[in-house]
């Protein structure tokens, strides 16, 4: 639970500036940007995501390194299953 996963901002919702679509190793989901309101990310930026909220902006290099760490920890599969939201993601 304490390990965050990196994702790339794909688009910011037009109706809600605090909601963004991100790409996490090919999986797309909506995340909340409310905790980064002092330093808003834009599409193309990388963020570290924890329980569905972007926690900090990071560089692409750091995103790759973090992903590699998760891979070595054997956590990627579990993390991806988590971000898919156990069937909730995509339900409106």
């Amino acid at each position: 639970m304490c390990l965050a996963i990196p994702g790339k901002i794909v688009e910011i919702s037009s109706d809600n500036q605090d909601s963004a679509l991100v790409d996490i190793v090919g999986v797309r989901r909506k995340i909340d940007l409310g905790l980064l309101q002092d330093d808003k990310p834009v599409p193309g930026d990388w963020v570290l995501i924890h329980v569905g909220f972007a926690m900090s902006k990071i560089s692409e290099q750091d995103a790759n390194d973090q992903m590699n760490t998760l891979r070595l920890l054997g956590e990627v599969e579990g993390a991806v299953q988590e971000v898919q939201g156990y069937g909730l993601e995509g339900v409106q």
Partner: protein, 375 residues
């Protein structure tokens, strides 16, 4: 050094390991506590203990929120969710954690509406999707997770969603560190500070550890090189007799933390006068509750809470392991009565707990070695 070639910059890792051996010398023992459960998991998984010299001992701290949650809190949450209109929502980590009457998953098997959610915002979404039901989110976590719960509650309030509440078990890391340092049988030289908690609280809150307790602390990333570099930074401080806060994880952790996250926490939460920690007992001002302005979304104010207390079996020596007085395998129950499949003590219940991490990696490794020696 089992994975060393797969790590980023393997040569730098070897050089850093050499530097650690040089700095550590052989004259004295160094005892360093990694506070965060994510670090504990990584240390075992990466086999970092095999890289470090024998006179550097890593003590696994209290930073696994699932592990330190008293069993009675799980029973309280599940007791509330006995009401048929309630959906009990929690992170996947919580699902197998045993209460006195079974885990959330076992309650689900008995007919309770239990849902795994990835995010508190997904729990709120469940409430929107099920207007005839009440969704109670069983919130756990340190300052890494608490701001997300706070923001979710702010969204629920703003949208006027009233069939949603939070059963709050959020805890704060600094009082736990203080409790460990206050313990008379504690002998620690330094701390490896948590990475992702610090993205929220920053480095400043640790300054009292350095100043008042004269213990160096280095906030660290999770990669093998990060943790080894943090050990170098701690050794340098200890050899010079210094005690400062340093930030090894600058690429992610700003010194001042995340102000927006801290604002959200301040808006929604206040400190509880005290809270019970499994293995450590009651610690004052160590946990969060919802402010009265959020009473309507506070499961503890909305529903009757039985206030169940379950004491850990006397034979379980979780407190001693948490404080580094005992190694996990030195506990009388370790690997016999208490295993990851049947956890009795707090530190065996999650893969981030030090006993479970030790069991999963060290214990199996030892078993394999002895099998090989027989064969």
């Amino acid at each position: 050094m089992r994975f060393v070639d797969e790590f980023r910059e393997p040569e730098l890792i070897s050089k850093t390991a050499e530097e650690i051996r040089r700095l550590a010398g052989t004259e004295r023992q160094y005892r360093m506590m990694e506070v965060c459960g994510g670090h504990t998991h990584a240390i075992y998984r990466f086999g970092l203990k095999d890289i470090l010299p024998e006179n550097i001992e890593l003590i696994h701290g209290p930073g696994c929120p699932v592990c330190v949650l008293p069993m009675g809190r799980i029973d309280d949450g599940l007791a509330i969710a006995q009401q048929p209109e309630i959906i009990f929502a929690a992170f996947g980590d919580m699902m197998r954690v045993p209460g006195a009457q079974g885990s959330p998953l076992e309650h689900k098997a008995r007919g309770m509406d239990v849902r795994i959610v990835y995010s508190p915002s997904d729990a709120l979404k469940l409430a929107r999707l099920n207007p005839e039901k009440h969704v109670m989110f069983f919130a756990i976590g340190f300052e890494t997770t608490a701001p997300s719960t706070a923001l979710t509650l702010m969204r629920a309030k703003a949208e006027g969603i009233r069939n949603f509440s939070v059963f709050c078990n959020h805890v704060t890391i600094i009082p736990a560190i203080r409790a460990i340092l206050d313990s008379p049988d504690m002998r620690l030289d330094a701390f490896i500070g948590p990475g992702h908690v610090s993205t929220v609280i920053g480095c400043r809150p640790y300054e009292w550890v350095a100043a008042n307790e004269h213990k160096p602390i280095v906030v660290s990333g999770f990669e093998p090189l990060d943790m080894l570099q943090s050990v170098v930074m701690l050794l340098n401080q200890l050899r010079r007799g210094e005690a400062r806060v340093e930030n090894q994880y600058k690429r992610v952790v700003p010194w001042e933390g995340n102000r927006a996250a801290l604002r959200a926490m301040a808006e929604v939460f206040q400190l509880r006068p005290y809270f019970e920690w499994r293995g450590l007992g009651f610690i004052s001002q160590s946990a969060l509750r919802l402010r009265d302005t959020y009473a309507e979304w506070d499961a503890e104010q909305r529903f009757d809470v039985p206030g169940i207390r379950v004491t850990d079996p006397k034979a379980a020596q979780c407190g001693e392991v948490l404080k580094g007085v005992l190694k996990p395998h030195q506990c009388k129950l370790f690997g016999r009565e208490c295993t990851p499949e049947h956890p009795i003590g707090a530190l065996m219940v999650s893969s981030e707990g030090s006993c479970a991490a030790y069991f999963n990696y060290e214990h199996r490794k030892a078993a394999l070695t002895s099998l090989r020696s027989i064969a």
